[in-house]
């Protein structure tokens, strides 16, 4: 029974990692950049939601606030691309990495200014109920996280495989100049993907905040989501979810069965092992470049 309980809580945590990892993968798939600020995006999305819902701020109804928060974060993602990232067009990946790390710092600073440094909790209807199966308890929030994550992954995966825009995004990342020649508005496509990443981050943020308290350092779970994305192969959406679940499930088991002090090492040790033995993740998408 304990095993099932650990598995379930790991699964729910892993889905949040998976959602943040989806954001990384989306941006990586479409722009070949890695957004080190995705975790901070998630934190910001959660705080926007807190600002809309909690009584000490605006006090809107939860279900009214969800679409508003999604729109705000989508618009923010698009504006960020328009004002900052578009200037980095065609520059090296490394420059974008450093830029997004700096963006993360700025986002954390701004969120701290607006919402303060005290931990807050979101007044979410998801945080109330729970289900019991024998001894195993599954909270409503955990269930919502798992269901929403699965739906999001399925939707985004099909979006990239089937729709014209999704294919255009993949083409734009693989060879920008060739994509231009094929009539793809590369810059606008990139704006769209940043908006989408903002929306995904907001979903992750709302679910994260429903599961527990929230403070401005919540964005650091982005580092665990990195482990998830890398394990999944960084270019693969289902891979990101699988990676997230692996990281999420390992954590509670490591905490239960390993001596104290060693348990928090587990996800990073796994990340390094995967990088050493399968440098491009479990779902590799890179072959050796031929000149």
């Amino acid at each position: 029974m304990e095993f099932m309980q650990l598995l379930l809580s790991g699964l729910a945590n892993g889905c949040v990692y998976g959602l943040v990892a989806l954001g990384f993968v989306l941006i990586y798939k479409a722009t070949e950049a890695v957004n080190f600020a995705q975790g901070d995006f998630m934190m910001l999305g959660a705080f926007v939601m807190v600002g809309l819902v909690n009584p000490q701020f605006m006090g809107l109804n939860f279900w009214v606030a969800v679409p508003i928060a999604l729109i705000i974060m989508g618009a923010l993602g698009y504006l960020l691309d328009l004002t900052v990232l578009r200037f980095m067009f065609g520059q090296s990946q490394i420059a974008v990495i450093i830029l997004t790390i700096a963006l993360g710092f700025v986002i954390r600073f701004v969120a701290g200014l607006i919402w303060g440094h005290e931990p807050l909790s979101l007044h979410s209807p998801l945080a109330l109920g729970d289900f019991r199966f024998g001894d195993v308890v599954l909270s409503l929030a955990d269930l919502a996280v798992i269901v929403v994550t699965l739906l999001m992954t399925l939707f985004l995966w099909q979006f990239f495989q089937r729709t014209k825009l999704g294919l255009a995004m993949q083409a734009a990342s693989q060879n920008q100049m060739a994509a231009y020649y094929m009539g793809i508005p590369v810059k606008r496509v990139q704006g769209a993907i940043w908006a989408l990443a903002g929306v995904v981050a907001c979903v992750a943020g709302i679910l994260y905040a429903s599961k527990g308290t929230l403070d401005i350092s919540a964005g650091f779970i982005g580092i665990k989501a990195f482990a998830a994305a890398v394990i999944g192969g960084f270019g693969s959406l289902p891979g990101a979810l699988l990676g997230g679940i692996i990281v999420g499930v390992i954590e509670p088991f490591a905490a239960r069965y390993l001596p104290a002090g060693y348990s928090q090492i587990a996800p990073y040790a796994l990340l390094i092992i995967v990088l050493v033995f399968r440098p491009h993740g479990l779902f590799a998408q890179v072959r050796v470049k031929k000149v």
Binding site: Q91, A95, V106, F226, G235, I265, V276, P279
Partner: protein
Amino acid sequence: MRFHFKTTYDQDIRLFPDWWNFSLYAALILLLLAMPWLIDSFFLGEMTNVLIWAVAGLGLMLLTGQTGQVSLGHSAFMALGCYTTVNLMEAGLPFLAAFLLAGAITGIIGAIIAIPALKLHGVYLSIATLALAILADDFIVILDHWTGGVNGYFAPEIWIFGVEVNRWVNPAAWYYLALGTALFVTLIYRNLVRSPLGRAFAAVRDSEISAQAMGVDIARTKTLAFGLSCAFAGLGGALMGLFAGAFNNETFNFLISIQLLMMIIIGGLGFIHGAFLGAIVIAFLPQLLSMSTDFMGSSSIPGLETGVFGMILIAFILFEPMGLYGRWLKIRTWLELFPFARRDMFKRQKTYLKTERLR
């Protein structure tokens, strides 16, 4: 404007291109040597801090600026250098021997760690090194027999040839220790860049495939770059920990390595001067901010430092990717060519990104 009429190939790789250049640097070194008589002990401490950051920055510069491998994990090597120095000193070695040996050990361990990391490119390398930096924090807690764990260490007394180096008793001695280390590392760096190895570093940075075609052994070059870079970072970390007086696992947080990377970018990636300019920015920014918040009459704002730092960095990446030193080079060229400098001389070329991904 000075013209260099070159008659031998050696002129291309001289330490100083001409007498004017040599005398400028000689004057700078004299000024730095005279510093303890010119400024008070508070600013001398700040200068020491600048030099310590510059030593660590030169380490990362060698790897990132010279060889093009971005590491977000240098805080781990700084911690390694610091704890190795302290442990060697406790084993009875004199400070100077322990310090240099710790640098060498850090370099060797860095090179060993680099061997599996060599397979990783770009983003993957930076993520792996970031994981390393986070793991270092946990390992310091686990290995508390050597590291003191969460309680940390108080820096032992440092004696060099019978002179006590103590931050509070004689700050000038600390300053000279940091200055000596910085000069030592700079000299190694400068000579490295002039040597075939340094050229190989630059070749790997610019294009691995063409470097390979020119006969550069990529694996060996990257391993050496990693090892040397870690050795410098280890020296910088040892100085940083000892200068702080007390240190634990938090002192070498992974944010330090991110700060180090930002520092060399603000200074100017690929230039020795860049490491020093970046170190000046990183050491004096907190002072400047606290002074300006005092001036505005408001209480201190938490997180202001990193926030402002992030904004400065964004501005640099967008508007001056070559950093402060790159800006200075542009200004100097403009002055030298005056009135004939053209506006678009330094315009960035339009580039398009291509990937090696297939799906």
